[in-house]
Symmetry: C2
Subunit: 657 residues, 2 copies
């Protein structure tokens, strides 16, 4: 197989790749991060790179041999004249000779800021894994009909009343030496009062478990001391599957269209989680070749697609109708069977999933928020890369999944980007002058006109803020249309002839071009929030209720959006603003609870089946509700709480009360 | 590391070995079989080889550089002048230069004749593993809250009443494709009514299990059809651990004295069993890359040392007082955890062991012979490389293990060898002329003086016959001493000045030297049979009985010894000759029963604990009983049945009746 040299600038990374590989594949192989929101489907146009050497496309450079494949029709749609010469989509251009490639800053996948800190939980400590100190009588010729294993079992029964225990094979392999090393004093680690998964010499008083939340974009592990219940360390990282597709459907497509796609992505996430495991224990456990083996239990939540890929189940069937998962029940899988580097005899407890699209992460939210124990009617909105809703109280809880699209994550937004340094995340617009001020991730201060602060784009929470502010400032109307006769240069027609609002002038950015919010961006957001709202409305109908008492915003994203902005936009039905809460990573909280209290696992299994899943896409009423919910905040529904809030803030916008 | 060329003759095998390796290690590495009964402890002297090039020991060849280590004191004891020049012990001589080595025929480890055929068993068919045909309703959008796994579970419960089943992780990984490939018709394989260990597309009607008996010397696998209960194929081989030591203690020593000794021997037996698996199914299962995966269940028996080494447990603690095993209970270990190439989700069922020296093989014998269901008082003697006894009836059964030493297997016998071609196995001696006739393994006819038939030595059953015949012919007396004033050149003084009986003259052999039975050989046999007899006597005392009703000879060896000869020698207390039975491989029968009927597993667990293990070595009465039992047939005990038998046969020997 012929190979070619590829050099990426400005990083300077270089290497050889096989003939016919795309530039994106080359970048992934060489560890160069290039944005790829659509999973190489040639639709997002985010992976533009500039070819500096080895490329001569006759349209924009001198004629000559090209070391890349010719520009395809799909690619042409994304490449604009203003992009300048030599621009290609990395996902599409194939290498057929040596090339030197420059990755513009806006195409670089910045290291996302992971914001999933652990909050204090109040829960009875009753973990699935417990340690028991045992002291055995050294064997003599008079009791030689008792093996080491049977001695341990008898002591655990006599001392702690643990009956009918089994012992993992790997534990047995070490048992003889362990008992003699500890001079017949030892500590047995028992899983679910049924299986011995570790025996250590002497009396050990520490026990660790790891609660894991695998998001589509980020992964986080909470190392918990199972004796005290405290989180002793937290480690997070980007999901290493991101290069194979930013969203769930892209990754399912990747698995379907690449021969070893599933294995590749499974290996990526297992390797990634092993990296988290290694880092999270490194300060706690100092000795031994495998510090991760100190972890004796692991609970994990994720959406259904991440669940399937993690476990090596083909995700194709959850990606197409009738959306049937391989398994819904919770699972206990031996760490060694999945390749995780914790105690090799320990189990990974995978929380159950609810339905094809509503995953174990939503079950985590459910057991963390416990709507089923409350009188108030609570709406829980978990906005990760997908939107998931839970609505109900002790009598009944419904769940659904909303196809919000990736707008909340910054995809399909012209200047959308992930929550990485350089992303605008907070915006205010003066309703009189229509001049904005904003905050950028990585800098604490407010910024406005003519300050060079290296803004690169707008992250998900920034999009919600800016569109809400545009609505409050009268830049867009209730239908989301631009109001064009405002006396400000910031509202203008873009290169495509469609209206746009200039949030940041080119000279204040690090990308050398105006950062704008376009009519298309506003529409994308309306579609996303409309789907959430319509989902909530259909669930309310199913429950026969007209109002909700409380709204809980879950997920890292939910913690960072302004509750005023989200209420203003109508992401959810009207509700008193002081009854809108952000709870942070509730899915991760659920995983931690299942780690600390084994009753929570039974609760999760029970409640995952008890919750009624509502398929909203097939509900005949969906279309109408969705249409109305596209309006800001809604075409028909009344928002008395929002009306009061806006009038207090001095906004001139009129809302149905 | 310096390497040297080594060539072995007559096989012509050659290769390079590292400096300092012994010739035996070199032979093992190059696949040359050299006898090594003592496990390189330099005591058996069976591994003599002749150095043809690269060796100049000044005592017997011209002086010069030697390419081998100097002769050690231990080695000198074994090398006799009559061995001729250039003889070394392969286990001791270390390679320090290129050498050419000739392996004399008597030092070659012939391929043992494995005689462990499966007999018909009468047992109710209720295997631990069963197949269930299931037919699922294809999923629609209306039942999407049910995963593939839950569909299978529900069908198994609705159709067959199987509740609370779990499913193995590896089965789940394939489940989605399997169900769709079979168009929602499938066959689930369920282990112990509790875990799904396989799902196959369509309706499958065949189900296989393998019963395995790992002996110290031979391994055998019986492939059973779990639908009909029949053995459909049998495959056997030498235990591949033999090169590391012929008996249990040699292998324990090997594990203790070699850094990776345990791993090496474990790998050898696992690889060997995988070879049996591959061969045993090769004619039955034709398709797929892993025909062995058609095997869904495996039961296994072995002695305690083989048990430990197979499972990777350090055997050191069962080799020294107080002889404590790692585990006594039965075990179910996933095939993948042990590296066996059957269905990777299947379990290996390891039968329980009784005590330090009484292994799962003895439990196999116990559940096959079922003394606990009988009124008659039955003595079961299982003579493998060790001697194990079971005595009792429905009221009580005792077990013990006798240190018979390896005499029954031909070790410590001057011309002893394994049951391989060339071994004398049947002998008759004319009481008047003292001329013998004999049968050799591999030839059907009787042979006597002056026929060249390539006899090489005497196997275990041959030793018993020849000594019994020597006793009946008056060549030895009741105390085992040679009677020297017989008018035959066959009874003479050997090179060491001690009496010996010439069984085969040199010219009739393939080894070029007289095959004799020495005073030392007779003593070794007396020690071995004395230990068995004393063990039986002590058990009779414990049970308070004076006679036994029946004697069962189990094991391949037990099937091939003459019951008359064994009664004549006094291997066991007196008993009517028609009440002495050979039952073949009863340990293997027990493994097969546990494969065909899961109730037998519970019976095995229960009876392994119920049996009373008697430690005879510490019994103060042992010494006296052993002394008396050294006599032929016994110094004090009466043998009325033997007396009658001998008198009928016309023997002049007098026995207490």
């Amino acid at each position: 197989m012929k190979k070619h040299k590829v050099i990426f600038q400005p990083s300077g990374r270089r290497g050889e790749v096989e003939d016919g590989k795309t530039l994106l594949e080359a970048a992934q192989a060489l560890g160069v991060d290039i944005e790829g929101l659509c999973g190489s489907k040639k639709v997002c146009g985010k992976c533009k790179v500039r070819i500096e050497e080895g490329y001569f496309e006759k349209d924009n450079m001198e004629s000559g041999m090209s070391h890349l494949s010719l520009i395809s029709e799909a690619e042409k749609k994304h490449i604009k004249t203003e992009d300048g010469p030599g621009i290609r989509l990395a996902c599409t251009a194939e290498v057929h000779g040596d090339v030197k490639v420059f990755v513009p800053e806006r195409s670089r996948a910045g290291k996302q800021v992971v914001r999933k800190a652990a909050k204090e939980l109040t829960i009875t400590l009753d973990p699935a894994v417990k340690k028991y100190n045992i002291e055995l009588t050294p064997p003599t010729l008079h009791d030689m009909t008792t093996g080491d294993n049977e001695r341990v079992l008898k002591c655990l029964e006599d001392t702690y009343g643990l009956k009918n225990l089994t012992i993992d094979y790997l534990v047995l392999k070490e048992l003889q030496d362990v008992l003699r090393k500890g001079e017949w004093k030892a500590t047995a680690t028992v899983w679910m009062d049924s299986e011995i998964i570790k025996v250590e010499p002497g009396f050990v008083e520490t026990c660790y478990g790891l609660a894991v939340d695998i998001g589509t974009t980020t992964c986080v592990g909470y190392l918990s001391d199972l004796i005290t219940g405290k989180v002793v360390n937290t480690e997070s990282m980007m999901n290493p599957q991101v290069p194979y597709g930013e969203d769930v459907m892209s990754r399912i497509t990747y698995a379907m269209t690449n021969p070893a796609g599933l294995e590749t992505m499974q290996k990526a996430i297992i390797d990634g989680l092993n990296e988290i495991i290694e880092k999270v224990v490194s300060e706690i456990v100092k000795d031994g070749p495998n510090p991760g083996f100190a972890i004796d239990d692991l609970t994990i939540v994720f959406n259904t697609a991440m669940h399937h890929i993690f476990l090596g189940f083909d995700p194709v069937y959850i990606g197409r109708s009738p959306f049937i998962p391989a398994v819904q029940n919770s699972m206990n899988v031996k760490a060694r069977d999945i390749g995780l580097k914790i105690n090799q005899s320990a189990y990974i407890h995978v929380l159950p999933i609810e339905a094809g699209f509503v995953g174990a992460d939503n079950v985590g939210v459910l057991i963390a928020e416990e709507q089923y124990n409350q009188d108030e009617m609570v709406l829980v909105i978990d906005i990760g890369t997908n939107g998931e809703l839970l609505l109900g109280n002790r009598d009944k809880v419904c769940s659904t999944s909303c196809a919000t699209g990736p707008a909340f994550e910054g995809a399909q937004i012209k200047f959308g980007m992930r929550a990485a340094p350089g992303a605008i995340e907070v915006v205010q617009i003066d309703p009189d002058t229509r001049e904005p001020r904003y905050k950028v991730i990585g800098k604490a201060d407010w910024h406005s006109h003519l300050e060079k602060i290296n803004a690169k784009g707008i992250c998900g929470s920034g999009i919600i803020e800016v569109v809400a502010e545009m609505f409050k400032a009268g830049i867009i109307d209730k239908s989301g249309k631009f109001v064009m006769d405002l006396k400000t240069p910031r509202v203008r027609k873009g290169a495509d002839g469609k209206p746009e609002y200039v949030l940041v002038w080119a000279e204040e950015t690090s990308i050398g071009t105006d950062i704008t919010v376009t009519q298309g961006d506003v529409r994308a957001l309306q579609l996303a929030k409309g789907a959430l709202y319509a989902g909530a409305k259909l669930m309310m109908k199913r429950l026969g209720i007209a109002t909700i008492d409380r709204v809980v915003l879950a997920g890292a994203f939910g913690s960072h959006i302004s509750r005023e902005a989200s209420l203003t936009l109508g992401m959810f039905p009207d509700c008193p603003i002081d009854k809108v809460y952000a709870v942070g990573n509730a899915a991760g909280d659920g995983a931690r609870m299942a780690l600390l209290n084994k009753g929570k696992r039974i609760e999760a299994d029970h409640r995952a089946r008890w919750v009624e899943f509502i398929e909203i896409a097939t509900d005949p009423a969906f279309e109408k509700e969705f249409m109305q919910a596209m309006h800001i905040p809604n075409m028909k529904d009344k928002f008395p709480n929002l009306k009061e809030l806006l009038s207090k803030s001095g906004s001139k916008v009129e809302i149905k009360g």
